[in-house]
Symmetry: C2
Subunit: 351 residues, 2 copies
């Protein structure tokens, strides 16, 4: 009879253990809390697209890797010295805007009309303040214009001539639109225009994706600083052959850029129209805030599942408040990298 | 021994029932499902702001009420006849754009430079497609331009001259910018410019709020049609005295406008910069999708709590997929109304 009682008890324990409710989703956040937050974290991207070992020769691969490393150096130096997330984002992106390898600033692609029209935005996770510029042609560093809009105007988003006037009034460096000329981007436009002539459907910006090395060359940076503040920024020339003063996701807060100290900081690169319709950057933050997903889970679900189902190609880079990095993309590659104390990663291909 | 076995079985059943996982949060959705969905629902706003019985005389009050009722009639007629949510949104807003009482189309307020620059957007909840225009000066019906961007271009967002060119190429009705002149809005600008001269801090668009009858006069419409599709649209002249080609939240998908058949359709009115930074329209949808809040709960939390804490004034109108209406605002009033079969509400004050 003693044995029967023991069996009875064991049986109950077994039943009890089987019908425990599943682990609450908060467990993931706790896991993050248990990880020691790094002193700082900086993550960058130089655009997603058709980037595979076959499509880039070794010399070019080294140029991209060197540039990504140099960009990380700039931001890391600021962060090591206790600089702000905002400063690190701005200065890192300024370097990438000056680098003709990336589609922003000096390396901006051409519009249908043969001009260069730049979009950028920045967001401060500390107070959720933000600034953005769309379709500007004369400002050397659009990311600095975006920051000036945030800090020196009562507005968030200024466009075209008005944004240029504002940037002049605030002493930002002006250039002639021809400063943004690069032969490779000009040739790329001519190539697309010729294809378009042969295309009975007329204007179709997706023609560019027939190019074996097409990419969304947008640049972006997301940072966690020593003070625990997050910030993110994005800068781009948009898509080659864009028309009618098209504005993409890069200057749209919640689509191309988002930062919030309670969740994460994100910069997007990809087919901007999808990133706008699905509010991609904010969606990741909302899944963390309301759905209790971890940053990586939320970023993966949006980029690798939702966007793939909807047909939107691209990726995001970002960092959460614990210093966790996510860099998912659904294209063949993405120029990307991150740095934390004692850790540096720079990648471009899927592996 | 038989009794012991029976007790044993009862005991196990008791334990088993006690450790069932709690009811899933979907319970709220089920409650909604039990309510019969109306055949159609249309909700509109004509802007939030300082709108109290003292600030509007009886004649004007009647004019506003008549216009809101007329706008609802237009949309309701389309919906009764089985028309699409998109058509109802576009046609209802076209009427409001023609009505000089509201700050959109004919009634648009003036920029700092004395021009009228219009923003609009539209979103189709069926496929989450969207279109938007920002800072256009020559298109009579910006909401129709937004719909043309959605349906006839590969882009989501076109700005200023480019958007105007696109609208001409698509045969949309063009007007000279002087068409948008109204004496009352011109006088309002002059009044603000004078105040600004006396203001040592210079440009400050919040000066307008010293006016006893200031309002964000944006118009918007959200619809559930007989087929169960949702759509939303927003159109505005922005804020009086806006500068530097400022773009507000109205053409930003996820801020001023959002529609998704799985959640709700929303149009915003308020201090646009806050609505952009907090991705207000998408935030409400995300709280429903990930936080399992009801539409009313989500809308109230964002407008009456989050925005109030952050200092952002305004409101939203919208309808969820079950036909539930929400119209929260944190200003003293909002021109608003809705119609379902057998039900019509038009209001402007807080009660």
């Amino acid at each position: 009879m003693k044995n029967a009682n023991l069996l009875f008890l064991l049986f109950i324990l077994l039943i009890h253990s089987q019908c425990q409710p599943p682990n609450p989703p908060e467990i993931k956040e706790e896991q993050n809390l248990n990880v020691e937050r790094p002193e700082y974290t900086i993550v960058i991207h130089g655009g997603a697209g058709s980037i595979s070992r076959g499509s880039i020769d070794t010399a070019k691969e080294k140029m991209y890797a060197d540039s990504l490393n140099f960009a990380l150096n700039i931001g890391e130096e600021i962060l090591k010295n206790g600089g702000s997330a905002l400063d690190a984002v701005e200065q890192t992106i300024r370097f990438m805007e000056d680098c003709p390898l990336f589609n922003s600033g000096k390396g901006a692609v051409f519009t249908h009309e043969g001009t260069n029209e730049l979009d950028a935005s920045i967001m401060d996770g500390k107070n959720e303040d933000a600034g953005a510029v769309g379709g500007i042609k004369t400002v050397k560093h659009p990311i600095t214009a975006a920051r000036a809009v945030m800090e020196k105007s009562p507005h968030v988003f200024l466009a075209r001539e008005g944004a240029e006037t504002f940037s002049k009034q605030n002493g930002l460096e002006q250039v002639d639109n021809s400063y943004f000329f690069t032969q490779k981007n000009y040739d790329r436009l001519q190539n697309i225009l010729e294809k378009e002539k042969a295309n009975l459907q007329g204007y179709d910006p997706s023609i560019e994706q027939e190019n074996p090395d097409w990419k969304y060359g947008t640049v972006g940076c997301a940072v966690l600083d020593k003070a625990g503040n997050l910030a993110a920024g994005t800068s781009t020339g948009g898509m080659t052959n864009k028309r009618w003063s098209r504005i993409g996701d890069s200057p749209i807060i919640g689509a191309g850029t988002y930062a919030n100290n309670t969740t994460c900081a994100i910069s997007s690169t990809g087919h901007g129209e999808y990133f706008i319709r699905y509010a991609v950057a904010y969606d990741i933050s909302a899944r963390m805030e309301y759905g209790k997903q971890s940053f990586q889970e939320a970023a993966n679900e949006v980029i690798m599942k939702k966007l793939v189902e909807k047909g939107g190609s691209g990726g995001i880079i970002g960092v959460d408040k614990y210093g966790n990095v996510a860099m998912p993309f659904n294209t063949s590659g993405m120029f990307r990298g991150y740095a934390k104390p004692g850790k540096r990663v720079v990648k471009m291909f899927s592996e």
